[in-house]
């Protein structure tokens, strides 16, 4: 079986085989989650700590639910109550937590690379729930699962990612994953919201939304990250909506069966038309939320299996 990783820090370190393994297992957890008794013992007896240095409702509750459905003891550590506010460094926090013997640590942090740093210092499995502008691997995996279920495959699709690419970790993880799975990727947005060096990414880059959407199978809209803006990336929200907001008219350029995705939370009327977001024939935004729990269950299950195997090897002294 693929997926031998100790941590899930980014899509960058996963192979296409790893990705398929996660998605296949997640399918089983989708089924489980639709039953009345939504319970497995995969993480029974294990401790999962959710550590969110950046506020989050959706991702944190998704991870919490995933852990609970797998039978883990889940603890949420909110930064507002933690000693981080009292000046403790990230590494000290990590060492303190490590002494409590968690098995899975789910971390979100506003600085790129902070989760990598933390993973070097602890003995448990670390899941990156988003670090700065770097990666958000479970989001890319849940998007992949959503696409695979809607389109029947996750290869040879034309996927348009639209909006604030520069500040988006979702965009980075998605374009790495979709690239590894051999899809055609288009990035659409104003040049001020495109990352530097985008020409070397191997994607097609458009600042004209209508052209960029032509023939697309999948349209991924990104949230306009207002809280990340140093100021002045776009002239106004209304001009942004006029040029880059997704509505039925612009979507008409894509394939007739193109699906619309959004990682949430949405700014209706800024990057996406409210009615379109609710159109069950086009929008799979609610599916993404459902797939999110299943994918996170799969990731934690796989990491827990690796953790058990690793500890087993250490206990028996077998060298690998």
């Amino acid at each position: 079986m693929a997926f031998r990783a100790r941590h899930l820090l980014g899509i960058e370190h996963l192979s296409p085989e790893d990705i398929r393994t996660v998605l296949d297992l997640a399918e089983r957890y989708v089924e489980l989650s639709r039953r009345t008794i939504k319970h497995s013992d995969a993480l029974a007896g294990m401790t999962q700590i959710n550590m969110f240095f950046e506020s989050s409702t959706r991702t944190q509750s998704s991870f919490e639910l995933a852990g609970k459905r797998l039978g883990a003891d889940v603890m949420n550590m909110s930064v507002a109550q933690s000693s981080v506010k009292k000046g403790e460094t990230l590494i000290d926090t990590a060492l303190t937590l490590n002494a409590m013997h968690p098995d899975l640590l789910v971390v979100r942090h506003p600085a790129s690379g902070a989760v990598n740093l933390l993973a070097e210092k602890v003995n448990c499995a670390v899941l990156n729930a988003g670090d700065g502008r770097h990666e958000h691997p479970t989001q890319a995996l849940l998007d992949a699962l959503t696409i695979r279920r809607a389109k029947g495959r996750i290869q040879r699709l034309t996927v348009a990612i639209c909006g604030d690419i520069a500040h988006s970790r979702v965009a980075r993880s998605n374009l790495i994953l979709l690239g590894k799975m051999e899809n055609r990727i288009r990035l659409i947005g104003p040049p001020t919201l495109m990352p530097a060096g985008v020409a070397e990414f191997g994607c097609e880059v458009y600042d004209d939304m209508a052209k960029g959407l032509e023939g697309a199978d999948v349209v991924i809209m990104l949230r306009l990250q207002k809280e990340r803006m140093d100021g002045g990336f776009i002239p106004s929200e209304r001009e942004y909506y006029y040029r880059y907001g997704l509505d039925a008219e612009k979507l008409a350029n894509a394939k007739p069966d193109a699906i619309v995705m959004h990682p949430g939370p949405m700014n209706r009327g800024v990057e996406i038309d409210g009615e379109l977001a609710d159109d069950i024939n086009r929008s799979v935004i609610q599916d993404q939320v459902e797939m999110g729990v299943a994918v996170r269950m799969a990731c934690m299950d796989l990491l827990a299996q690796n953790l058990r195997a690793d500890r087993g090897r250490k206990a028996t002294g077998v060298m690998v």
Binding site: S112, G113, R169, A196, G197
Partner: protein, 425 residues
């Protein structure tokens, strides 16, 4: 003091750009003869074919006195310098508080002279508190020994303030050192814009921020006629501006740190904070262009930009971590990478590490000729080893070369004919 007679030495002469076997005699702190006979009673030193070069004049070293002695003291910096073949160390004024009054400058001058085995000279701040608002007492500071004026990595943003400081410095013949960087573009960033920084999600400034900053400074040099040195030119696209300024006869020189000549942005890898520098590491194309510019003499000076940082300030997420690296001891071994790669000859390297900085600062050092101070480094350019940061003399151990294969090591260092590092002192 006994005379020293170095025999069988590979003499690296950065003035004549020669690299030849011969002997050197040092008497009373000065080089008294090249390839002459051994004076009576002289101490004979058989160099066994190893290299003897003028000691390094390292322009822009951060020492933590006053304010940050836990990071580096004059004693530890001096020991590290001696171990690295640096015989003259030009200290930066970015201390806490900044060296911006003659009283403070006199204090650090005295401290340095007491504590360090190598020569230490000082730059003073160009503006009070390096705040970029009012010029310092450039005249008084010069009188008590400031060799140049610099706000280090604080860029004076108000062009009018800078123009006045340049103009005043010009009237005194003082040398000013700029840090060419456009603050609007580079504020709050920790990497160079490009694919690598974008994939790592690091806030980044375009490489052109350097040229924009340089162009502004050069415009003011043209306006005022001040003697100007750019501390670090690290990008390909800044080079034409430098060519133009020199061709137009402006009194301008430029430096580059050894790290920007030997490392590139990819070395940051998975957020390794020991590779976080000011300015940030550049692309490989930039690195190659800047190495070539040193070879052509367009960039005059290679410096270490020695910046000690304690463990706590580096054990942070990349964006939050402090910038800078220690380099006094790794300067020469790292420079040997350029020699072994065939990029620069040994005389070219010592032209940029010893001769040019000494000349620009009006010092007699940097030459291998009779009458020059006997500040010398004896080194083996080919000895291989793994660098262990714990073995460095600096109080701070933040070197990007930790655990790396190095080639080249200092055997002995002499200041004014007195051995300050190496066996059998």
């Amino acid at each position: 003091m006994k005379s020293l007679h170095f025999t069988n030495a590979r003499l690296i002469d950065p003035e004549a750009l020669t690299d030849s076997l011969g002997s050197l005699t040092a008497t009373a702190g000065q080089i008294s003869a090249m390839n002459g006979p051994a004076p009576d009673g002289a101490q004979q030193i058989n160099c066994a074919g190893k290299c003897l070069a003028p000691g390094i004049v390292d322009w822009g070293v951060k020492v933590g006195e006053p304010g940050e002695r836990h990071r580096e003291s004059f004693r530890s910096a001096g020991m590290a310098a001696a171990a690295g073949g640096v015989t003259t160390l030009i200290a930066r004024p970015d201390t806490m508080p900044a060296i911006d009054t003659p009283e403070l400058l006199e204090f650090v001058t005295r401290r340095a002279a007491e504590a360090a085995p190598v020569r230490i000279l000082h730059m003073a701040a160009l503006t009070k508190g390096r705040a970029g608002l009012e010029m310092t007492e450039i005249g008084f500071l010069r009188d008590v020994g400031a060799v140049a004026f610099s706000d280090a990595d604080h860029v004076v943003q108000d062009t009018r303030v800078l123009a006045r400081a340049f103009s005043y410095a010009r009237s005194l013949g003082a040398l000013v050192v700029g840090h060419p960087q456009d603050q609007g573009l580079s504020r709050g960033t920790s990497a160079t814009s490009g694919k690598f920084a974008s994939l790592r999600g690091l806030p980044a400034a375009p490489a052109l921020a350097e040229r924009i900053g340089l162009d502004r400074d050069l415009g003011l040099v043209e306006l005022t006629g001040v003697r100007y040195h750019a501390d670090q030119i690290t990008t390909e696209r800044a080079l034409p501006a430098l060519v133009r300024a020199k061709a137009n006869g402006l009194d301008v020189t430029a430096g580059v740190s050894i790290h920007h000549l030997t490392l590139n942005e990819f070395d940051v890898g998975d957020y390794r904070t020991f590779f976080k520098l000011t300015p940030p590491l550049r692309s490989e194309a930039d690195r190659l262009a800047v190495v070539a510019a040193v070879g052509e003499g367009l960039i005059d000076v290679i410096c270490s930009m020695h910046t000690p940082q304690d463990e706590e300030s580096k054990r942070l997420p990349f964006e939050d971590a402090a910038a800078g690296a220690v380099a006094l001891e790794t300067f020469l071994p790292a420079a040997m990478r350029l020699f072994h790669a065939g990029a620069l000859s040994l005389p070219m390297l010592f032209r940029a590490m010893s001769l040019n900085p000494a000349r620009r600062l009006g010092l007699p050092q940097g030459r291998l000729a009779a009458g020059a101070p006997a500040d010398l480094v004896l080194f083996d350019p080919a000895v291989p080893y793994l660098l262990d940061r714990a073995a460095l003399h600096s109080k701070s151990k933040n070197t990007p070369f930790d655990g790396q294969r190095m080639e080249g090591r200092v055997i002995a260092t002499f200041v004014a004919g007195k051995q300050v590092f190496g066996g059998a002192q």
